[in-house]
């Protein structure tokens, strides 16, 4: 690059940086020293004014000057929500980075230009897709296969909650996620996006406005859907293919920047919805689903009047109250989806910790109980947590 071009680049970068933080231009400042420039840019950025900065480069190393501007830019992007997909820092420690170099290489069949780390990522991701993707799969089938693999095979990390985070290395990028099978939310989101984009599907990583969480938006049949693999690592399909209205229950993001998600067709809950004719049969339906170990289910209420609507709201709120106050093992939540002439009630059961049935099969459990009964005789009593069929008691 010619020297004059470099000077222009540095000045433009500085102007761009300052302009993004304010409203009105208030004059010109001039710097002749790199350290002074860095300090001043940071100081100016803490005000809400736009300041024109001209940079005198006499005797200064232009590369160093460019590095200073980039460094200040990076620092400023930490802690402030920004209307962009990549180069966003989550929980002060994890970076959402562009992964298109790897997905482009997969699609073009050429890894030329990739560094070793990217090449290794490409190999791991390619091997995974070879295993997961079968002929004649639809886009939805492919998305579901990738989602299920990530939620079943990657361990979610909560090391980010420790004051000085303890998450394993690279758990925020596909390289570390695929290699070490451990991820923070950013790792799940960027890996899901990488695999979707390798399959030629549109996908974006979304971050929340408080910069504490990230997830994906994926496009199926021209409609966008939210997917949060991290949150679903202990409750499958709870956050799989939801629209904006459903996702707003527990997420907040910049809706002006990210595309609107209005799709319902591929919502996991809605796909399996059953018609409910009698609202008073709702508790029985919920219990049946809980006993059947189902996490996500929905029912459709058609042509209901105002009284029935009030009763339905009362009933589901009571169910939520009873389960959540009566059981330490599971929690229940729901949302209402409105459609043409009908309401759909989507319900979710989260298993807070593994139940005994998750780690010991029923037959072994029965054998263990028999051994206990045989040894302790009159002292023996069945476990309070399970009924005679070894099914978790609720409420």
């Amino acid at each position: 690059m010619k020297k004059s071009t470099k000077i222009l680049t540095v000045i433009l970068s500085a102007l761009l940086l300052i302009a993004s933080f304010g409203a009105a231009a208030v004059g010109a400042l001039s710097y002749v020293n790199v350290n002074k420039l860095a300090a001043s840019l940071e100081m100016i950025s803490q005000t809400s004014e736009t300041t024109k900065v001209s940079v005198k480069t006499v005797g200064e190393d232009l590369d160093e000057l460019s590095a200073v501007v980039e460094d200040v830019k990076t620092k400023l992007s930490v802690g402030e929500d920004v209307a962009q997909e990549n180069d966003v820092c989550i929980a002060n420690d994890y970076w959402i980075r562009d992964t298109s170099a790897v997905s482009d290489a997969y699609k073009s069949g050429s890894s030329e230009g990739l560094d070793d780390r990217q090449k290794e990522t490409l190999k791991m991701a390619s091997d995974l897709l070879d295993k997961l993707i079968k002929k004649n799969m639809t886009s939805y089938d492919k998305e579901k296969a990738v989602y299920e693999w990530l939620t079943n095979n990657i361990n979610s990390e909560l090391g980010m909650l420790t004051v000085i985070p303890t998450s394993s290395e690279s758990s925020d990028e596909p390289f570390g996620v695929l290699k070490y099978k451990s991820a923070v939310c950013v790792g799940y989101a960027t890996t899901f996006r990488l695999l979707m984009q390798m399959l030629g599907m549109e996908c974006m990583v979304v971050h929340d406005t408080s910069l504490t969480h990230s997830w994906d938006l994926v496009k199926l049949d021209d409609e966008w859907y939210h997917v949060d693999c991290y949150f679903d690592s202990d409750c499958a399909y709870r956050h799989f293919n939801l629209d904006d209205a459903a996702f707003e229950q527990d997420h907040d993001w910049n809706k002006d920047f990210f595309p609107k998600a209005k799709g319902k067709k591929y919502s996991y809950a809605l796909q399996n919805a059953v018609q409910l004719d009698d609202i008073c049969s709702l508790p029985e339906l919920v219990m049946d689903k809980v006993k059947a170990n189902e996490s996500v289910f929905a029912c459709i209420l058609k042509d209901i009047g105002k009284d029935d609507e009030a009763l339905a709201v009362y009933m589901v709120n009571r169910i939520e109250e009873i389960i959540n106050s009566g059981s330490d093992e599971i929690s229940f939540d729901h949302y209402w989806a409105e459609g043409e002439g009908q309401y759909t009630l989507c319900m979710f059961v989260t298993r807070i910790s593994d139940t005994i049935e998750d780690v010991i099969d029923e037959e072994t459990l029965e054998t263990a109980e028999e051994a206990l009964e045989k040894a302790f005789g009159d002292l023996y009593s069945p476990s309070d947590l399970y009924d005679d069929d070894h099914v978790l008691r609720v409420g």
Partner: protein
């Protein structure tokens, strides 16, 4: 006449010299209040103070320890307070070793200049807000502990306490101030 002039010059010069060095006590007087402020910091070492606070905290979860004695103290402190490290004299951090089990946290930052204490306190408050947002998203049950977080200043210290026994921890800290 010539002798008189020389004598006069000598007397004036002597008076000038004496005058220049004749008021050495004035700066000492003005420094006295500053010396009073300097004493408002823990009298124990950071490690000993951490052990005192850990005992007062008496929590069920294991606490990790970081301090100004560590290899990269500037980076460690930046997780809770991003103040210019040149302004920090000492600090200690006690925090839940597993953040997914507990949000407990105790931070004491000793500033070199009292004028910087307010900045540090504001940064600790911001840190608490960010932690709340993080726990609200991932472990809402633990976020309640942060609603009771105590952030305050004492002398040249900025302090944060997130503990079930915050009252005892605060008392233990106050007793450590000389």
């Amino acid at each position: 006449m010539k002798k008189f002039v020389i004598l006069l010059i000598t007397v004036l010069a002597s008076a000038f010299v004496l005058g220049c060095g004749g008021e050495p006590s004035a700066p000492e007087i003005t420094e006295e209040p500053v010396q009073t402020q300097i004493t408002e910091e823990p009298t124990q070492s950071m490690f000993d103070l951490a052990e005192t606070l850990r005992a007062a905290h008496n929590g069920k979860t294991e606490l990790s320890y970081a301090s100004s004695s560590d290899d990269d103290p500037e980076s460690e402190l930046a997780y809770v307070c991003d103040i210019d490290y040149g302004k920090v004299k000492d600090f200690l951090m006690l925090f839940a070793a597993d953040g997914s089990k507990s949000a407990d946290e105790i931070v004491v930052i000793v500033l070199k200049d009292q004028a910087d204490v307010k900045t540090a306190v504001d940064m600790l408050r911001t840190h608490v807000e960010k932690r709340k947002a993080l726990y609200d998203a991932y472990e809402p049950a633990l976020a309640k502990a942060l609603n009771k977080a105590e952030v305050f200043s004492e002398g040249r210290c900025a302090v944060l306490i997130v503990s079930e026994n915050a009252y005892d921890v605060r008392n233990a800290f106050m007793e450590s101030i000389g």
